[in-house]
C-alpha cells in the first residue's frame, strides 16, 4: 500500500530465502572448512556479499526497475533460452538439494522409520500449493513466518547464554590460517537467492526502493548469519562442532531449562521448517516463471513440472552423506549464480546501450 512497506516485504522475502538454509545445514559446511573461526568466516563472506551486491546494483542502475529477463541478453533468442533455462534448472537443483537435506534432517528429528519420500511428500505439496499462488503470496507468508522464526531464534539464544564460553572461539583463525583464508574467500557462498530481488524487481516502483531493499537484505542476512555462527562457535568447542549434524537443533537440544521446556526443541525445528518452505516455494515460483519466459498466464502451468523435477532430483542421492555432499558441492559453485552471471548479464546490457547512444 505504501512504498516503504513494499521495500520491506521484498527484503524479508529474499533474506528469508537466504537465511533458511542457515537454520539447518549451512553452519555445518562453514565449520567444516574454517573450524571455530566460522563466525569470522561469515563476517568475511558478508563483506564479499556486500561488495558483489554493490557491484551488480551499480551496473544495474540504468535499467531499474526492469527485471533481469527484460535486459539485453534476453532480447536474443539464444541468450534468452540459455539464461532462463540455466537459472531455472539451477534453482530446481538447489531446491532439490535443500529438500533432500531437510528431509534427512527431519527424519533425524522425528526418529521415525518412514521413508524419505514420505516426508518429502508433505513438503513438496506445501511448496506446490504455495507456488501456485505466486510470488506475492509467498512474500506474505514469509512476512508471517519470519518474525516467528526471529522470536524462536532469540529465545533459543537467550536460553543458550549459560553455555557460551569465550574460550571456545579462541585459536582465532580456526582450523588453520591458510585453510581459513581459502575457505572464507572461496567457499560456500550461498547468497544466490538474492537473485529473486532482480528477477522480481518489476514489482518495485523505482531504483531507490530496490537499492534500499537490497541493502536491508545484506544487513539482515549478515547480522543473523553471524549471530547464528557466533553462538554455535561459542557454544560447542571446535573438534566436536565439526561432526555435528543439524547444528542448531543440536544446540537447542543442549538447553536444560526446566523439565518441561527443555524438551520443546522439535517444535522449534518445525517452526523453522516454515521459513524453509517459504524459501523453497519462492525459488519454485521463480523457476516456473523462468520456464514460462515471464509469461504471467503460463507461469502457473509450469509449477507442476518444476515441483515434479525438484522431487525427482531430490531423491537422486543414495543416502544422507551423499545428499549432504551433493548440496555442499552445489553451494560451492553458487557463486556462478550470484555474482558471476548477473554481472555478465548487466554489463552486456550496459555495453549495448552505450553503443546505441554512441
Amino acid at each position: 500500500m505504501n512504498q516503504k512497506s513494499g521495500t520491506l516485504s521484498g527484503a524479508v522475502l529474499c533474506s528469508g530465502a537466504i537465511l533458511a538454509k542457515y537454520l539447518i545445514i549451512m553452519p555445518e559446511f562453514i565449520i567444516k572448512h574454517s573450524g571455530n573461526a566460522a563466525w569470522l568466516d561469515t563476517i568475511i563472506k558478508s563483506i564479499i556479499f556486500l561488495i558483489s551486491f554493490a557491484i551488480v546494483l551499480k551496473l544495474y542502475k540504468p535499467f531499474a526497475p526492469n527485471s533481469f529477463d527484460s535486459l539485453f541478453i534476453y532480447s536474443t533468442k539464444a541468450g534468452k533460452i540459455f539464461f532462463n533455462y540455466f537459472y531455472a534448472i539451477a534453482f530446481i537443483v538447489y531446491n532439490a538439494g535443500l529438500l533432500r537435506v531437510l528431509v534427512e534432517a527431519l527424519g533425524t528429528v522425528m526418529a521415525n522409520t518412514a521413508p524419505d519420500e514420505y516426508f518429502a511428500l508433505f513438503i513438496i505439496s506445501a511448496i506446490f500449493v504455495s507456488a501456485l499462488y505466486g510470488v506475492r503470496s509467498t512474500t506474505n507468508l514469509t512476512l508471517v513466518f519470519f518474525p516467528v522464526i526471529l522470536v524462536t531464534l532469540t529465545l533459543v539464544i537467550i536460553f543458550l547464554f549459560p553455555y557460551l564460553r569465550t574460550q571456545n572461539i579462541m585459536p582465532i583463525f580456526g582450523k588453520s590460517t591458510n585453510e581459513f583464508i581459502k575457505a572464507s574467500a572461496l567457499r560456500n557462498y550461498g547468497f544466490m537467492e538474492i537473485i529473486l530481488l532482480f528477477f522480481f524487481s518489476h514489482h518495485y516502483p523505482s531504483y531507490k526502493e530496490i537499492k534500499k531493499s537490497g541493502f536491508i537484505i545484506v544487513g539482515v542476512v549478515s547480522l543473523i548469519s553471524v549471530i547464528i555462527l557466533g553462538v554455535y562457535c561459542l557454544c560447542i568447542p571446535y573438534p566436536a562442532s565439526e561432526k555435528f549434524f543439524l547444528p542448531l537443533y543440536q544446540m537447542t537440544r543442549m538447553i536444560k531449562a526446566s523439565s518441561f521446556l527443555e524438551r520443546l526443541e522439535p517444535l522449534v525445528v518445525f517452526i523453522w521448517t516454515g521459513l524453509i518452505l517459504c524459501s523453497m516455494s519462492a525459488l519454485t515460483t521463480l523457476s516456473s516463471r523462468l520456464f514460462a519466459f515471464s509469461d504471467n498466464a503460463r507461469e502457473k502451468g509450469f509449477v507442476p513440472i518444476v515441483v515434479f523435477l525438484t522431487f525427482f532430483t531430490a531423491m537422486l542421492p543414495d543416502n544422507e552423506i551423499s545428499a549432504l555432499r551433493f548440496y555442499e558441492i552445489l553451494l560451492d559453485y553458487s557463486y556462478i549464480l550470484f555474482p558471476v552471471l548477473p554481472i555478465i548479464i548487466v554489463s552486456a546490457a550496459r555495453i549495448r546501450t552505450r553503443r546505441k547512444t554512441v
Binding site: G35, N36, A37, T108, A111, N112, T113, A114, E117, Y118, L121, F122, I124, S125, F128, V129, L132, R165, Q167, N168, M170, P171, I172, F173, G174, K175, S176, T177, F180, I236, P237, Y238, P239, A240, K243, F245, Q250, R253, M254, K256, S259, E262, P304
Partner: protein
C-alpha cells in the same frame, strides 16, 4: 484441476501409510548401565519405567514394582537394544534415558567409543547424565530404590539435578563428547556406588579425631545407614576417554572451586593447635580468577579462588586472635590440598582436568599451532599456582 492436484497429493499421503507409533506401543528406557561382559564384550542393563504401576489412578505399588530391569550381553549397546526387542513386547525408545552408568572396569578401558556413538545416534538425548559406578553398573541400578519418590525416573531427575549443579559435575553426554574429542583436556565424571549400608561397630582410634577433609569419602564408602543403598560421591578422573583414578569428596570440592562455581556447604575442620572442631560455611561468590601466560613456550598459570568463610558456631571463635588463627589454618589447608591436587593431576593423572588449556588457546593463531604446542605434554611441566583468597571472614562480626 487446481483443486484436484492438492487433493490427489493429500490422498497419496494418506494412502501411503501411517508411520506413527502410539506411545503405549513403546517402552521407555530410563537408565542404562554398561559393564564388561563375560561371553560377549559388554553387558548392558536397561531400566524401564513400568507405566501400569506408576501413575494413573491406582497408586498402590511402590517404586520397586514400577520398574523392570533387563540385563543383556551383547557386542555393543545398540545390538543389545536389538536383542531387547526379542524380550520386550513393545518397541524400545531410548529418548527418555536419564542416566548412563559405566562400570569402573569398562571406564578404565575407555568409554569414548560409547559416548560418541550415543551422541551421533540421536537416540539418546545429549543431556543424558553419565556416571561411573565403583562396583558393577548392573548392581548399582538394581540397588537404587528411591524412598521419597514414588517413581524411579523422578528419583533420577532429582539426584541428577543435585549432582549436576556445578560445572565440574556437568557430565552430560555432549559435554563428555566435547572433552573426549578435544584430546587436550581431561574430564571429571561423578562416581556412583552401592553402599554396604552398615555403620561401624567398633571404635576406630585412627580416624575418630579426623575432620572432613581427612575422611575424603568416595561413593560406596560413606558411613551411613539408609533404606536406599545407592549413592553419589566423588569423581572419576579421565585422561582422554580412559579413567585413570578417582577423587574423594573433599578433592572433588577443591576441583569444583577451580572449575567454577561452588555451591555453599559446611565443612568441619579440626584445628590441631587447640584440638577444636570448627564448622565453617564456605561459599565461592565469583568464578576463579585464572590468568594464563606463555613464557618460553611454557605455560604459567595463576589461579585465585575467592571464597567466603562463615563460622557456623561463633562461640568457638570468640576472640579476633582465635578467628584469625583458625582462618589462616583453614586457608592453609585448602591451599595445600589444592596444590596437591594440581600436582597429582600433572604428575600422576597427567590430565588437564580443569580445562586450563582453554585459557592458553588465545596465544595461538590457529588450531594447528595449538596442536603443535602439544598441551597434553606441556601440562605436565606447566607452572601452576593456586591460592585461595578469603574475601570476607567475619571476625569483626564475631567481635561485637
Amino acid at each position: 484441476m487446481k483443486r484436484i492436484i492438492p487433493l490427489l497429493l493429500c490422498l497419496s499421503i494418506v494412502l501411503s501409510g501411517c508411520y506413527g507409533i502410539d506411545i503405549d506401543e513403546q517402552s521407555f528406557v530410563i537408565a542404562v548401565g554398561i559393564d564388561k561382559g563375560k561371553s560377549y564384550r559388554i553387558r548392558t542393563t536397561f531400566v524401564f519405567s513400568n507405566p501400569i504401576e506408576s501413575g494413573g489412578e491406582e497408586k498402590t505399588s511402590t517404586a520397586a514394582k514400577s520398574t523392570d530391569i533387563v540385563t543383556i550381553e551383547a557386542p555393543s549397546v545398540f545390538s543389545a537394544v536389538r536383542k531387547l526387542n526379542y524380550i520386550k513386547s513393545k518397541k524400545i525408545n531410548l529418548t527418555h534415558t536419564k542416566l548412563i552408568v559405566f562400570s569402573r572396569e569398562l571406564a578404565k578401558d575407555g568409554i569414548g567409543e560409547f559416548v560418541d556413538g550415543f551422541v551421533s545416534s540421536h537416540d539418546f538425548r545429549p543431556n543424558t547424565y553419565v556416571c561411573i559406578s565403583t562396583n558393577s553398573a548392573d548392581k548399582f541400578l538394581r540397588s537404587a530404590k528411591p524412598v521419597q519418590e514414588s517413581f524411579l525416573e523422578k528419583y533420577y531427575d532429582h539426584i541428577i539435578k543435585k549432582a549436576a549443579s556445578d560445572k565440574v559435575n556437568e557430565s552430560y553426554l555432549y559435554y563428555l563428547h566435547f572433552n573426549f574429542s578435544e584430546k587436550s583436556s581431561g574430564s571429571l565424571v561423578p562416581l556412583v556406588g552401592t553402599n554396604k549400608n552398615e555403620l561401624p561397630k567398633e571404635t576406630d582410634l585412627k580416624t575418630i579425631e579426623s575432620d572432613d577433609f581427612a575422611l575424603n569419602e568416595k561413593a560406596g564408602k560413606i558411613l551411613r545407614k539408609a533404606e536406599n543403598k545407592a549413592e553419589f560421591s566423588g569423581t572419576a578422573i579421565f585422561k582422554d576417554d580412559k579413567m585413570v583414578s578417582t577423587l574423594g569428596s573433599f578433592y572433588t570440592d577443591i576441583a569444583r572451586f577451580i572449575g567454577n562455581e561452588f555451591y555453599p556447604a559446611s565443612y568441619t575442620f579440626r584445628i590441631p593447635s587447640t584440638g577444636d572442631f570448627v564448622t565453617v560455611k564456605i561459599n565461592q561468590h565469583s568464578p576463579p580468577d585464572i590468568s594464563a601466560k606463555l613464557k618460553n613456550n611454557n605455560a604459567h598459570i595463576k589461579i585465585k579462588i575467592p571464597i567466603d568463610l562463615e563460622y557456623v558456631d561463633p562461640l568457638v571463635v570468640d576472640t579476633p586472635k582465635k578467628s584469625k588463627e583458625f582462618t589462616d589454618y583453614i586457608t592453609s589447608v585448602l591451599n595445600k590440598k589444592a596444590k596437591i591436587l594440581i600436582k597429582k593431576s600433572q604428575e600422576e593423572y597427567q590430565s588437564d582436568i580443569f580445562s586450563l588449556g582453554d585459557y592458553l588457546k588465545r596465544y595461538f593463531i590457529d588450531y594447528k599451532k595449538w596442536e603443535k604446542f602439544n598441551w597434553k605434554e606441556k601440562y605436565k611441566t606447566a607452572k601452576i599456582d593456586v591460592s585461595f583468597k578469603i574475601k570476607y571472614a567475619d571476625y569483626e562480626e564475631v567481635n561485637h
